[in-house]
Symmetry: C2
Subunit: 576 residues, 2 copies
């Protein structure tokens, strides 16, 4: 059975399996979603209209025994940025699609009327089922019910209340291995795109799936062994290493120490309160409470940076509290209380919102006077406004930029309409170059210059030096290639430092594809994906002028370094 595309037309509730076009054969993940979006979606279309499409695509090695590779990309035109978007999640759902030899699901059209649907995909075919009974409900309860109804072996993708509001901060939610609605292709409002089409859930059941076809088992096996060796030996990725022990939130202390952890809506880069919400503090608390740490977001992960955060009584599992989430819902709102942050993260998962956008949004609402900075309980109540679909909730659901404007805030930390992640570009300039120039809108995962700037991985650069165009460009190319591979981006820590690991990744891809890739192919593969995305954005009306940080980053000095973002515009323009 060859790899297939599942095309789903929501206008008339029909679907069909199509042969994967020959020129898509070597594509996966972001390479697949961006290629399809660029080919099939008119760049000027209304992102919430009938012409936008939503594409799901597992990576090239997803579903195989390759370690840490259970990733999937979701793509479309973003209602948040107005440009092309790829959002990425690690979830068993990804592996199931891959094993069913579904290279991509393309959701198109738009169902007229108010009904929502659930799409069930098995090896026997597809089925559309009315999903109205789940509308307006939190996803923790809904996912529990869905697993009860469809069996606990299925994979679930869904959208929540924020997406029902067509909120630009709504993400596409996937289950973690415990069935929690905690793995998100969060950024860019793709949840609203799914909801706009009348699609509420996709359930996959891979019973009887043939598994991923591997063209050359020998090369593949040899590759994944090399990668496994690299992952298990690098300090960041190995068992008992930084990510495994403390999760991504190990960065809280590190970035705070570097003076680049944004506090109070990007008005300071450091605060002693940050330690209270550090990865170390969180890991200890999880242990005390009886949560789970470490934990994997998808089977076969070696790094296992995930966790299950729980209430003080050990009950009501939330899922992982990632670094970005802890920061966004914590220090950025001057909230330094893990329980408040945990409940905010629960609310985001339950309502179907991106945690970064939610945290940025709450922070600008605080700056606009809606509640006080530091008011954790107030922030939780704000999230409840989304649940109740009140006017305040509808504002917040639209994300940082609209919320900032509505509440009269002029310090709005967005690029291309998307809220900035957890690194202040005035203190760590390479990541600022990535925020400004990636076709995705402000996105740290697009070219993680933090690695060389702060972590000393893949080189060692002065974070305060503005000469970062080249490193950002190279990282953006490499990242796009990894986003296509199906590997988790976190393998980069190991393979940037251990050449054999990178070699292993390339061999594993060659093994699956029956290709003869070399390490030198990685950059060009990534570049070709980004070229496709840039071309889409250009046709959507983007220019170099949109590759800029907001004015206040260039003019307000950030304590403690008291620096501004001083990368020249020409340098930004030289990235692509």
């Amino acid at each position: 059975m060859p790899k297939r595309i599942l095309r789903v037309n929501m206008t008339n509730l029909e679907s069909q399996f199509e042969d994967l076009p020959a020129d898509y054969a070597a594509l996966g993940g972001r390479g697949m979603t961006s290629t399809i979006v660029a080919k099939e979606v008119p760049p000027t279309c209304n992102p919430l209209g009938i012409h936008n499409k939503l594409v799901f695509a597992p990576g090239i090695v997803t579903g195989t025994k390759a370690p840490t590779s259970g990733r999937l990309s979701v793509g479309g035109k973003s209602p948040l940025t107005g440009g092309i978007k790829e959002a990425n999640a690690g979830t068993p759902f990804a592996q199931m699609l891959a094993r069913m030899r579904i290279g991509a699901i393309i959701i198109e059209g738009k169902h007229a009327g108010d009904d929502y649907y659930l799409l069930k995909i098995t090896m026997d075919g597809t089925e559309f089922i009315k999903a109205n009974k789940w509308v307006g409900k939190g996803l923790y309860g809904v996912y529990k019910d869905l697993f009860k109804e469809y069996g606990d072996k299925v994979g679930i993708s869904g959208v929540g209340i924020a997406a029902e509001l067509l909120g630009a901060m709504s993400g596409v939610c996937f289950n973690d291995p415990e069935g929690l609605p905690s793995r998100y292709a969060g950024r860019g409002g793709l949840g609203a795109v799914m909801a706009s089409k009348g699609l509420k859930f996709i359930i996959v059941d891979d019973t009887g799936a043939p598994g991923v076809e591997i063209a050359n088992e020998e090369v593949f096996s040899q590759g994944i062994k090399k990668l496994r060796d690299a992952l298990t030996s690098h300090d960041v990725t190995k068992p008992g290493g930084a990510l495994n022990s403390y999760g991504t939130a190990v960065l809280v202390n590190i970035i705070n120490e570097a003076g680049g952890l944004p506090q109070r809506n990007f008005s300071s880069g450091q605060d002693e309160g940050a330690e209270k919400v550090s990865g170390e503090a969180k890991a200890e608390e999880i242990k005390k409470r009886g949560g789970t740490r470490p934990h994997f977001c998808n089977p076969g992960c070696i790094i296992q940076c995930s966790e299950v955060w729980v209430k003080p009584n050990g009950k009501d599992p939330v899922g992982v509290l990632e670094y970005e989430s802890v920061w966004a819902l914590g220090p950025n709102c001057a909230i330094y209380n893990l329980d408040d942050i945990g409940e905010l993260n629960r609310a985001c998962n339950d309502l179907g919102t991106d945690t970064i956008e939610a945290g940025d949004t709450i922070a600008v609402a605080m700056e606009g006077g809606l509640i006080e900075f530091g008011d954790g309980k107030g922030a939780i109540k704000l999230m409840d406004e989304i649940r109740k679909k009140t006017p305040i909730g509808k504002i917040l659901a639209q994300g940082t930029e609209i919320t900032g404007k509505v509440f009269g805030v002029t310090r709005i930390p967005t690029v291309k309409g998307q809220g900035l992640p957890a690194y202040d570009p005035r203190a760590i300039k390479g990541i600022g170059v990535t925020f400004a120039t990636t076709p995705m809108g402000a996105d740290h995962t697009a070219g993680y210059a933090i690695a060389p700037e702060i972590l000393g991985v893949g080189g060692k650069l002065d974070p305060l030096s503005p000469e970062k165009a080249e490193v950002s460009r190279n990282l953006q190319f490499a990242t796009a290639a990894i986003d296509a591979s199906g590997y988790c981006l976190f393998i980069a820590f190991a393979i940037l430092d251990i050449p054999e690991g990178l070699q292993g990744v390339v061999e594993s891809l060659s093994g699956v594809l029956g290709a003869n890739l070399t390490v030198d192919d990685v950059g060009p593969i990534g570049k070709s994906i980004i070229d496709t995305e840039l071309e889409f954005n250009k046709k959507a009306g983007f220019t170099k002028i949109h590759d800029r940080l907001p004015e206040f980053f260039l003019e307000e000095k950030l304590p403690p370094h008291n620096t501004v973002f001083d990368v020249p515009d020409d340098d930004l323009d030289s990235v692509f």
Copy 2:
């Protein structure tokens, strides 16, 4: 005394008179504001930040005896569109500035802290006075108090509660000859720019002003006589003619008859209810109630299309209910009751909002389910949310596009973020070309193709024909020149049909400037202004892609003609 520029720095509350640069000598109105904005405002700046500037400039013949010439332009970078903006008003304030030989007021900087100021300008100099006591108050009461405090001969410019919210639908308000806050440079959110700087009011007192310098009195007098003859003989502009008898709202029946009067958020082009809010019905009602009709918005106007609308008991004057206002707050919201429309218009004036943007905003809020279509009393209550500065009020104050997004509406009638005026581009395509291509965002005054398409003025074109690039271009050039002259745009009706009138306009400009302009210079003058504006917008990040109407105009057929907007993109791109 030569013509001067008054430069006002709100950062340190200082101002100075500067000589008018030699290359500004022939500029006025829109020519002056757009030139200064393009020269002094960084195109990528935050419109509500310290780098934006707000420029006031009377036209070239404003303040002279030239008929119908009391116009003034306000310019800056628009927080609504993100591009350059010129908004235009007819008001005695314009004539006073001109007579004081103030070619432009440039407001720059930004006052730190929460204080608001009033700037008083006399022939002796300027004075900054704290204006905090007027904050949060309606402009009808405030203007009454200001005239009491500063004398009833002064001119007032001010911003209201909507601007205090930094609302993108806030306009800059001027007094009419009765002292009512009813003359607006309404579009594009320039009120928010003024408020963002800490400036609440400008009071001008022209006592002792030398008057406008006229280089050649003979040519000037001969010119204005020709124009006066044209205005008093053309059916549209003459005393007892269409505008004089019924005001601009004479268009309600005409455009409804043509099937192009948008109803219920641009979902139909015709409704029999429209007659109830027609210019004819309104004029009769004003007569019955003891309002004023006709009336002039500035002394010396021959056309006198204005009026004073009052409550049924003849009290509580509102000022004029223009065609655009009646439509926006009326049929576009399915409101067919002149008293409700009058109270909505009063609320707009009192709160300092553009009536077109307010009406478009209420209509999308209705489509989003906030209140029902046709609920006039509900709409009045919504405006009160702005007054109370509630979250709903703050949403609405941001205008059509943000309100639409917040309430989950995908049919949002905007171009470059600005709400469409009272003509459906599916039924009248030339005006649609203007909406799409003008650097101002959707704006009927930028190139009023309705004249040849519907009124048979300046030619006769089929409104349903998509071949309109040329007529829109020519009208946009001519309009920019008129907007620079200080003449009201409505002289165009006469001078498009009567060559002697156009000759008179050119002679009057030559007379003031001591120049030898010919009719052939008009187009190039307008073109040079628009070129300046297009260049600013390009540097601000605009491309041809932004010269498009929203998707639904291209796909949803508009009753009764059941046509879509089918002007090819290439035609739109050929306009400039």
